[in-house]
């Protein structure tokens, strides 16, 4: 593995039996990411179940309950590495009742793989998966048209799915959509180029994942530094040291930059950017660093350091696309704790503007119940200002979660619009 290799996080979505587990198993198997003892265990189970060869789907099996029911019910993370990149797969179940898991997996992904069975074409679930990927602003979508072996590797079958998909995806906001005809079971166009589809000119899936351009997906323009904690060594050597520790959410900070601390509005200049390995001249997202400032100002967790010429909007009223994640539905005008970067305030859902039917993408202004898996546009009021950006511009400063104070559970996730 070469030292400047990047990390790519992707999710996989598909309906039950579209071949998602087989595809992931195939990627792990063909990229030689499976260890001998795992292989042995899976070979044994495959035999017990009466499968002819290795059942690739078994590599992605998770907890016992799921094994018993034969379905995936939570987000499971898998890892593999090629000479070009390290990959993290967030494997999420496809069924509508697991929308919340899909949203979770999508929240950190650079890319989404959406599986479509070539025989069935685009179905309701495909639309929902694509919608969630666009809602969470996953920058790259790869539609894998699977089971091509069952449609004689036919170009027409592939084109039909492609047209169906494009028909509705034109309504979604996705920067980059690609289509790849594959057979997860037999390996066509997964790691190796298919011998059976000369008509397909594009790259196989793994090659696509390895070469996709991802460094420009992070916002490098708006410099935002949410303060996580204040570092005060109180040792002899660093007697007056006061550093602000955090992970740069977006943009670039340089030594000497004029900054503003929000929400207080105090201004200063960056004195040093410190790390254990020495001070830096500049630092960028998503680096974790410690900043010191020229002036002694009162800063604590929840504050945000930004460049003075480019500030986010401090506001107590936000509009959010909210995904409800909890069994207990929202109570009308209920109060919650809102978490936004390192900032935490009390909040109230003032109004549900409309709910989205995630299969048809229609807006529903009649039924406004926020129950499990509901996705709705809502208005939220907070007790103190949050320093927000539009989620489309900034996935870190544009996202929030709601926590129910009675149970401490995370009940909703939202994207600021």
């Amino acid at each position: 593995m070469i030292d400047n290799n990047q990390l790519l996080r992707f999710t996989t979505a598909g309906s039950v039996d579209d071949g998602k587990s087989t595809l992931i198993g195939r990627l792990l198997y063909d990229s030689k990411s499976i260890f001998e003892d795992q292989l042995e265990a899976v070979e044994n189970t495959s035999k017990q179940k009466g499968h002819a060869g290795v059942d690739l789907a078994l590599f992605t099996d998770g907890l016992r309950d799921e094994r018993e029911q034969g379905i995936t019910i939570d987000v499971a993370y898998r890892y593999f590495t090629t000479p070009k990149r390290k990959f993290i797969i967030a494997d999420t179940p496809g069924h509508i009742q697991y929308t919340r898991n899909m949203v979770t997996g999508a929240s950190t992904a650079n890319a989404a793989i959406i599986l479509v069975d070539a025989r069935h074409g685009v179905i309701e679930q495909t639309r929902r998966h694509a919608f969630i990927a666009s809602l969470l602003q996953i920058p790259h979508i790869i539609v894998c048209i699977n089971k091509m072996d069952l449609v004689d590797y036919s170009e027409q079958a592939y084109n039909k799915v492609l047209e169906q998909f494009e028909e509705f995806s034109s309504k979604l906001l996705v920067k980059d959509i690609r289509f790849i005809p594959i057979s997860a079971l037999l390996g066509d166009n997964v790691v190796n180029r298919s011998q059976n589809m000369d008509w397909y000119q594009g790259a196989p899936l793994l090659h696509t994942l390895e070469n996709m351009h991802i460094s420009s997906d992070i916002n490098k323009v708006d410099a935002r530094f949410p303060v996580q904690t204040v570092i005060r060594p109180q040792s002899e050597k660093f007697i007056d040291y006061r550093g602000y520790a955090g992970r740069i959410a977006s943009g670039v900070f340089r030594k000497g930059d004029e900054i503003t601390v929000m929400p207080s509005g105090f201004t200063s200049k960056i004195k040093t950017i410190d790390t254990l390995d020495g001070a830096l001249e500049e630092a960028f997202a998503p680096m974790s660093v410690t900043l010191t400032l020229e002036d002694d100002i009162d800063i604590s967790r929840g504050d945000m350091i930004v460049r003075s010429n480019n500030k986010p909007e401090p506001t107590q009223d936000i509009e959010v696309m909210l995904c409800w994640l909890n069994d207990a539905p929202a109570k009308p005008r209920a109060k919650y704790t809102i978490q936004h970067t390192s900032n935490e305030q009390k909040a109230m859902i003032k109004e549900v503007v409309y709910k989205i039917d995630i299969n048809t993408l229609d807006r529903n202004s009649e039924d406004k119940a926020l129950d499990m898996n509901a996705i709705a546009k809502v208005k939220i009021r907070t007790t103190k200002p949050l320093m927000v950006d539009d989620y489309r511009e900034n996935r870190t400063t544009g996202s929030i979660i709601l926590v129910d104070d009675a149970t401490n559970e995370t009940v909703a996730a939202g994207m600021i619009v």
């Binding site: 260890f35 001998e36 907890l63 990149r85 490098k220 570092i231 050597k237 254990l276 998503p286």
Partner: protein
């Protein structure tokens, strides 16, 4: 390509530092669970990075089974000295003496399961509200679904079916009296990442990881080290082998592999060509397909 991008190790490092700072900010009394193994050593190193130039703000908590490699204990004490950190020891022997747990019997007896009680007792008596572990999702299938912030009820138990959703980098560590969290800053690292990072950062690790001559016995396809606790079976014999350990647990159950890898470079090379997962040499996981999941639900590391 623009110069403003991180390589995978830098990104993993930054993520782990972020998690450690969140732990510090969200909890009153967090500790690092320190086993002396490479994963908890890496977590400790990352904590130094996260809080520099301050000392690491966490105490190190070690669950001592009494069946240690002497090298591990020496390494632990040296590190504590160097960091100027506090050490909290939970003793399995004490739990046994107090009748909190009973020693397992028979040939394959280990103190592995007993650690759970000692760990939970130590968490409770020290009023720890977050225990930071070196668990990685790639280690084992039950771990693949762990959150960065993982909630434990007031019996210390994990409910895999009822985990809090974790989105973006927004971690919810809210808890009621008596409950605690486990935090896993290196969730997204693989064994290979850990080794590459140790090499890159030149992190000190116990000598046990490097190939060395050692007296051991062949058992269940691995080399179990000789120790005062080893009871030989009639057909077994002690031999001297050049071995090293891929993970460090109790001296009674941690098997070594034959190896010539006596430098970090050679270890990284060896690991990258190795075709066995690292826990494969630990008899505690071989008991059943769901051994890890069952222990984790009860409160294991």
């Amino acid at each position: 390509m623009s110069k403003y991008y991180l390589n995978y190790l830098d990104e993993l490092e930054s993520e782990a530092m972020y998690v450690l700072r969140e732990v510090w900010a969200q909890f009153d009394n967090p500790v690092i669970l320190f086993s002396g193994g490479k994963d908890s050593i890496v977590v400790t190193h990352l904590a130094q990075k996260a809080f520099y130039p301050a000392k690491i703000p966490f105490a190190l908590m070690h669950v001592d089974t009494g069946h240690n490699f002497p090298e591990t204990i020496k390494f632990r004490d040296d590190l504590i000295n160097k960091l100027g950190a506090n050490l909290i020891v939970g003793s399995v022997q004490e739990s046994i003496d107090q009748g909190r747990v009973a020693e397992e019997k028979g040939k394959n007896a280990t103190r592995n399961a007993l650690q759970i009680t000692t760990l939970l007792d130590a968490i409770e008596s020290n009023k720890v509200d977050c225990a930071i572990g070196g668990g990685r999702r790639d280690e084992e299938k039950a771990r693949a679904k762990e959150r960065f912030f993982s909630h434990r009820d007031d019996f210390g138990q994990w409910d895999p079916k009822n985990q809090r959703p974790e989105l973006w980098n927004l971690f919810n560590g809210k808890h009621f009296e008596g409950e605690h969290f486990r935090a896993f800053p290196i969730s997204n690292w693989t064994e290979m990442d850990v080794w590459n990072y140790i090499k890159r950062e030149n992190i000190q690790i116990p000598s046990l990881y490097f190939a060395h001559e050692r007296e051991c016995v062949r058992r269940n396809d691995s080399w179990i080290p000789n120790s005062e606790f080893l009871k030989l079976e009639p057909n077994e014999e002690i031999v001297s082998k050049k071995i090293r350990f891929r993970t460090l647990g109790d001296i009674t159950i941690t098997g070594g592999i034959e190896s010539e890898a006596d430098t970090l470079e050679k270890i990284v090379d060896e690991v990258s060509t190795m075709r066995q997962t690292e826990r494969g040499n630990r008899s505690d996981d071989k008991r059943s397909e769901t051994a890890m999941e069952d222990r984790k639900k009860q409160g294991y590391f």
